[in-house]
Amino acid sequence: MQGIRVEGLKKCFGARTAVEGLTFDVAPGEVFGLLGPNGAGKTTTVRMLTGLLTPTEGRATICGVELPLRSDDEGVKLRRQVGLLTEQPGLYDRLSARENLEFFMRLNEVDEPKAWKLATSLLERFDLAGREDEPVGGFSKGMRQKLAIVRALVHSPEVVFLDEPTSGLDPQSGRVVRDAIAELAREGRTMVLCSHNLHEVERLCSRVAVIKNRLRTVASLVELRKEGLALDLMVDGDAAAWVPALAKLPFTVGHHVEGSRLRVLLDKEEQSPDVIACVVSAGARVHSAQRAARPLEEAYLELVREDAEAA
C-alpha cells in the first residue's frame, strides 16, 4: 500500500487563491487530521487529492497516481483506490440503502458478492442491518451519515478521506465510527480526517496539518502540544481572582480559567515554581499544581490566530 505525498499544492479560482503551499506526507496505516477554520481550504484540498479539482501548482502522489492527472484513465485508477465521505451524505433519497450501495459498487466495478460481504458487516456494525430495503429519505441524520460512510468504503479503498465523519451521530454511534476508522488504519489504509471536532482528532490522529488558505504547520499531536507547556493550578474559590497576580511575574504567560482551575501557559518548564510562588504570595490557597500537556484546541487556535495577525 502507498500513502499520500503532497508537494507545494496550490489551487486558485480565478484571481482568488483558495489554498497554497501544501506539502505533507501521509503514510499507510496513519490517521492524518486536516484542520482549519471554515473556508480555510480543507474541502478544496480534499477535492484536489481525489482528482475532482486540478491543482493550479504543485504535485501530489496518491496510491502511486500522480496529480495533476494526465488522463481520464489515471483519474479512474485514482478514484478506484480512494473513498470519500463528503460533508453532506449525498444519498439518493428515493432509493433504498441497498440500491444506493449497489449503484456505487457498479460504478467501482467491484466483485459484488465480496463487496456485499463487506457492506453487510459494516451495516451490522453501524446498526443499519435490516434497514437495507427502506428508502433512505426516511433515515435519520445519523443513519444517513453512517450509510454514507459504508458507501465510501464498499470498494475497499486504500486511501479514505472523511469529512466530519461523526457529524450528526449520537455518542454511541460516534464511538463505533471512531473504532471503525482506527481499525481501517490498522489494516494499513491511509485515512485523512477533516474535522472541527478537536477531541475526535486527538483521539484518532497521530499527525495533523493546520490549514488556513496556506499550510500553517504539519506536526504530530505530541509536537503540537509541546510547543507550549501548561501548569494547572487548583485553587480555593474562583480562579479568576488570581489572574491579576500573574502580571507581577517577570515574564509573560497566557492563562485560561475554568471554575477553580487556573491553567497557566508557559514558555519554559523552569517557570513553574515562579508561577506557583506568585499565586501563593497573592493569597491563593493552592490545592494542587500539575503540569499539563497543552490541549490541541489551544495549539490550534494559536496557530490560526497567528495567521490572522500576520495577515
Binding site: L53, S71, R79, L84, Y92, L95, F104, L107, N108, E109
Partner: protein, 265 residues
C-alpha cells in the same frame, strides 16, 4: 476520453429507478402525451360526427380552394393529422427536458454530485448514462402515444375514411426518425443548460423555451401560411440533426469534472 459502458449503464439504471419512484415527475410526464393524443382525436371526432356540415366546407376551402367538396371531412382529417405532427414533436423535446433537468441539476440540489464525481465514473459516462435515462423513456412514451393515436384515429375516423389512416409514411418517418432527433435535442439542451445554471426548475424553464419554435410553426400551419408534409418535416429534421451535432461538440467541450464540480457542486 475513457469510456466504460458498464458505468454509463449503472448511471442509466440508477436514474431510471429514481424516475420510477418519482410519482410527481411521472404524472407530469404523462400529462402531455395524453393531451397530444386526445386533442386531435376530438377534432377528428367532430369532423366525423357531421361530415356534411357546410361549416366544414368553408374551413376546407380556406385551406385549399381545389378541395374535393364531396368528402371535406376526410380532407380535414388528413389536414389536421399532417399539421398535428409538429405539436406531437413538442413531446419528444419536452419529456427529456423534464427528465434531464431533474436528473442532472437535481444531483447538485441533492448534494449527490460530489460523491458521484469522486467515483470512477467519467464525465462522458455520466452524460451518456443520464441521457439514456432521459431518451429511452421519452422515446417509449412518444411511441406509446403514437400507437394510441393510430388506434384512436382509425377507430374514430372509420365511418368517413373506410380505411386505416394511421400509421402513414409521414408519421412513421416522423415518429421513428425525426422524434428521436428532437428527443436528443431536448435532452442535450437540458443537460447543457443544467450544467450552466445548476438549478432544476430554472433549467426546465430555460430549456422549455425550445418548444417555442415548434409552437410558431404550428401557428403558421393552422393559419394556412405553412403547408405541412413529408418534405417539410424532413427539412425540420435536418435542421435538428445539425443542432444535435452542435450539442455533442459543445457537450464534449463543457463536460469535464472540474467544470461540473465548480458549476454544479
Amino acid at each position: 476520453m475513457s469510456f466504460r459502458l458498464s458505468r454509463a449503464l449503472a448511471v442509466y439504471r440508477k436514474d431510471l429507478l429514481d424516475l420510477r419512484k418519482n410519482r410527481g415527475l411521472l404524472w407530469s410526464m404523462l400529462a402531455l402525451p395524453l393531451v397530444i393524443v386526445v386533442t386531435p382525436l376530438g377534432l377528428v371526432m367532430a369532423y366525423v360526427r357531421n361530415p356534411t356540415d357546410p361549416g366544414l366546407k368553408a374551413i376546407a376551402l380556406y385551406y385549399d380552394l381545389t378541395v374535393d367538396l364531396t368528402n371535406v371531412a376526410r380532407f380535414l382529417i388528413d389536414k389536421v393529422l399532417a399539421d398535428w405532427f409538429v405539436i406531437y414533436l413538442v413531446m419528444p423535446v419536452f419529456v427529456p427536458i423534464l427528465i434531464s433537468s431533474h436528473a442532472v441539476a437535481g444531483e447538485k440540489e441533492k448534494r449527490t454530485l460530489e460523491p458521484l464525481l469522486a467515483s470512477p465514473v467519467t464525465p462522458l459516462e455520466l452524460v451518456v448514462g443520464k441521457s439514456l435515462a432521459s431518451l429511452v423513456p421519452s422515446v417509449l412514451i412518444c411511441t406509446l402515444a403514437f400507437v394510441l393515436l393510430c388506434v384512436g384515429v382509425d377507430i374514430v375516423a372509420w365511418p368517413v375514411a373506410k380505411e386505416l389512416i394511421l400509421p402513414n409514411s409521414m408519421w412513421s418517418f416522423g415518429v421513428f426518425v425525426i422524434a428521436p432527433l428532437f428527443a436528443f435535442f431536448g435532452n442535450g439542451v437540458a443537460v447543457l443548460i443544467s450544467a450552466r445554471v445548476g438549478d432544476s426548475r430554472l433549467a426546465q424553464q430555460l430549456a422549455g423555451l425550445m418548444v417555442l419554435p415548434l409552437i410558431g410553426l404550428a401557428a403558421g400551419q393552422f393559419g394556412g401560411w405553412l403547408k405541412a408534409g413529408a418534405g417539410y418535416y424532413a427539412i425540420i429534421g435536418g435542421v435538428v440533426l445539425l443542432l444535435d451535432v452542435v450539442i455533442v461538440v459543445a457537450a464534449r467541450r463543457l463536460f469535464d469534472r472540474e467544470r461540473l464540480m465548480t458549476r454544479w457542486g
